[in-house]
């Protein structure tokens, strides 16, 4: 390593999780610098999604450590991890279909997150402005009053990205953000992601190589829960082990 570990915004060391003896993630080390966009690739079952689950607390780790700034995330509850500044987008679009786009964004607005805070929450001008602003960024400013269940697949993905943006996380984790999108939607999403990754660190899981090329600072290749290769996309592509397990297919 060229830099001190404390320089990194996220330091993952020796991260391990085993499900009934099967090690889905095995002694993984991962260092994410501020403003870095890291893409994780790897064949199916490599443990990519599990790594994100471990970082955001959805799955409890068996061993290792995940340090975000000065906090040990493995000891924190999911909502505390969110408040620490880690946002997570799921692979399948997870939006509240019975609520409008506006309401979806409002729930993610970083205020009134306690039970009584939520009861007392008022939709003031600051909230409205921020929601309009985010809606514009995610191309949904015309659909604010639409039920989220009526959106197209791609729009739901954007909405979920917007729900994360409104939290303004320092570390954003996206699981296959362009999966199932049309070519046009994909292009717009790449443009959107390129814009929103400017002021924060991002971890993206993605299969689409042209998309990876577009956004990645560095690429990490996972295979069977272990780190196979890491570096620039060109470096990773040139690695014969990577070609063997992944790119060759």
């Amino acid at each position: 390593m060229f830099e001190e570990p404390s320089h990194f915004i996220l330091t993952v060391e020796g991260l391990t999780v085993s499900f009934d003896g099967f090690k889905a993630v095995d002694g993984l080390n991962l260092y994410i610098a501020p403003n870095e966009c890291r893409v994780i690739i790897g064949p199916n079952g490599a443990g990519k999604t599990t790594v994100l689950d471990l970082i955001c607390g959805r799955t409890k780790a068996t061993g290792g450590s995940v340090r975000f700034r000065d906090m040990e995330l493995l000891k924190m509850r999911e909502d505390q991890i969110v408040h620490a500044g880690v946002g997570r987008k799921f692979q399948t679009p997870s939006v509240y279909e019975d609520l409008t786009v506006f309401e979806n964004l409002e729930i993610s607005y970083p205020k009134g997150h306690g039970v009584f805070g939520a009861l007392a929450f008022r939709r003031d001008a600051a909230v409205r402005d921020r929601i309009r602003d985010i809606a514009e960024q995610i191309f949904l400013d015309d659909s604010l009053e639409k039920k989220a269940g009526l959106l197209s697949h791609g729009q739901k993905q954007w909405l979920e990205i917007g729900m994360l943006l409104i939290q303004d996380p320092q570390l954003l984790m996206l699981d296959e953000p362009v999966a199932g999108m049309s070519v046009a939607e994909r292009r717009k999403t790449a443009e959107l992601l390129n814009r929103i990754i400017q002021d924060r660190s991002v971890i993206v899981i993605e299969h689409d190589m042209s998309f990876v090329e577009d956004i990645a600072t560095r690429v990490t290749v996972l295979h069977q829960g272990k780190l196979l290769s890491e570096g620039s996309l060109a470096h990773v592509k040139a690695d014969p082990r990577v070609a063997e397990v992944y790119l060759g297919h």
């Binding site: 019975d98 609520l99 007392a120 939290q167």
Partner: protein, 419 residues
């Protein structure tokens, strides 16, 4: 400013109209139209409406199906009954007992002194606080234990049902302390005021109706707050809510506690109006019936739930007078029919069918005199249009009740259990 906002919010307007109509029915129409005996019966039905309102928040909005609301109903009912029983058990009134001054059923069970935990119920303030605090504490313990461990859905429903069974067995088994299967009977006065004559029953009816309207206002406030929208979000995408920075278990526990308080207040009013409390209103069957009241009324509509409780109980009274053994089958069939045909209950039927019809009739009436030759254009009714163009965030009755049932497995379970 606030007013203009209200006027432009169709969801709020509908709820205010609904509330006003309900208040007119409960406070004016029923008292004028019914004799004291029938009014007292309706007062009894209203007690179950408290539970139904709580279930709208817990089950309809939050997706937490509790099949043990009878336990909370019983907590409030028994707390009130204990106070009333102690007041009725003066040494003079019980001087023929071998131990005068204790409730009669304790004497029959050879108890020689009042159990220590009965003592505080000599005090009316303590009793009133207990009616709120006991269900909160109990629901908080259950809620924390279950929701922190991520127990939900059908499993939660089964556990609450088991708790209802345990509570009944406990009450029946501990006859000397609880009055056993007969319950606590022969209640007379509340702080010296006789609750048995017709005039007292009418007063109690008005207290009950007033409290119910208050509960409805409170529930509507919760439903319209961001908390209400979080409940819906949680029901549909629990993980997304959790990873948006919410402590999901805390929200579920809160709404479960709130539902428990509503049920408990209903229980206390039941004891006052009916004059006894017994384990038959605590167990599994009454708990499931309470869910049915809510489902029939519309599990997303606070006001609908009140009508659901009233109508099903009214049907029970008239039906079970003629065919007592068929009533439970009828109730089960009703529940299945509602779930299959009208998943949003009466409130859904009102919003989807009756309101557009009314609006169309009103429209025709107002346009006909002005322009008799106007074609009967199938214009969208004003209310429907309001509903479609509603403001963002207004968690309205109608918009929610038009949704399909998201929690069919749970309702299936309830349907099976009801049979």
């Amino acid at each position: 400013m606030r007013l203009s906002f209200s006027a432009s919010d169709p969801g709020l307007r509908r709820q205010i109209i609904g509330l006003a109509l309900l208040a007119a029915l409960l406070l004016v129409a029923l008292p004028l139209g019914l004799d004291a005996f029938r009014l007292n019966l309706f007062g009894k039905y209203l007690c179950f409406a408290f539970v139904a309102i709580g279930l709208v928040l817990c089950w309809g909005m939050g997706g937490i199906l509790s099949l043990g609301q009878g336990v909370f109903f019983g907590l409030g009912g028994y707390a009130m009954a204990m106070y009333l029983k102690l007041e009725a058990s003066t040494p003079e009134a019980t001087k023929i007992q071998s131990t005068p001054g204790i409730p009669d059923f304790m004497d029959w069970n050879q108890l020689k002194a009042l159990p220590l935990w009965w003592e505080p119920f000599h005090s009316l303030p303590f009793t009133l606080i207990a009616i709120i605090a006991l269900p909160v504490a109990f629901a908080f313990i259950i809620g924390t234990a279950m929701f922190r461990r991520r127990v939900g859905g059908v499993y939660f429903a089964i556990i609450t049902q088991a708790i209802a069974a345990i509570a009944t067995i406990l009450i029946i088994g501990q006859q000397g302390y609880t009055g056993g299967v007969n319950g606590i009977t022969d209640l007379r006065t509340l702080h010296g005021w006789d609750i048995r004559p017709d005039s007292a029953r009418v007063t109690l009816y008005f207290v009950c109706a007033g409290l119910l309207l208050l509960a409805a206002v409170l529930a509507l406030f919760v439903q319209r707050s961001k908390l209400g929208r979080i409940l819906i979000a949680m029901r549909d995408q629990e993980d997304r809510v959790r990873f948006s920075g919410y402590d999901v278990a805390a929200f579920k526990t809160f709404v479960f506690c709130l539902g428990a308080v509503f049920a408990s207040v209903g229980g206390a009013m039941f004891t006052l109006q009916v004059g006894f409390m017994s384990p038959t209103i605590v167990g599994i069957v009454p708990s499931i019936e309470m869910v049915i009241f809510c489902a029939v009324g519309g599990r997303l509509s606070v006001i609908g739930a009140v009508y659901g409780a009233l109508l099903v109980n009214l049907a029970r009274t008239s039906f079970s007078e003629s065919f007592p053994e068929l009533w439970l089958f009828g109730l089960g069939a009703l529940f299945i029919a509602v779930v299959m045909a009208f998943p949003s209950g009466l409130a859904g039927v009102w919003v989807e069918r009756i309101e557009p019809l009314l609006a169309r009739l009103l429209r025709r009436k107002t346009t006909t005199p002005a322009d008799p030759n106007a074609p009967e254009a199938p214009e969208p009714a004003p209310l429907t249009r309001d509903a479609a163009g509603r403001r963002p965030g207004a968690a309205t009755l109608n918009a929610l009740s038009t949704n399909p049932l998201p929690a069919t497995p749970m309702t299936d379970a309830a349907a099976r259990a009801a049979l």
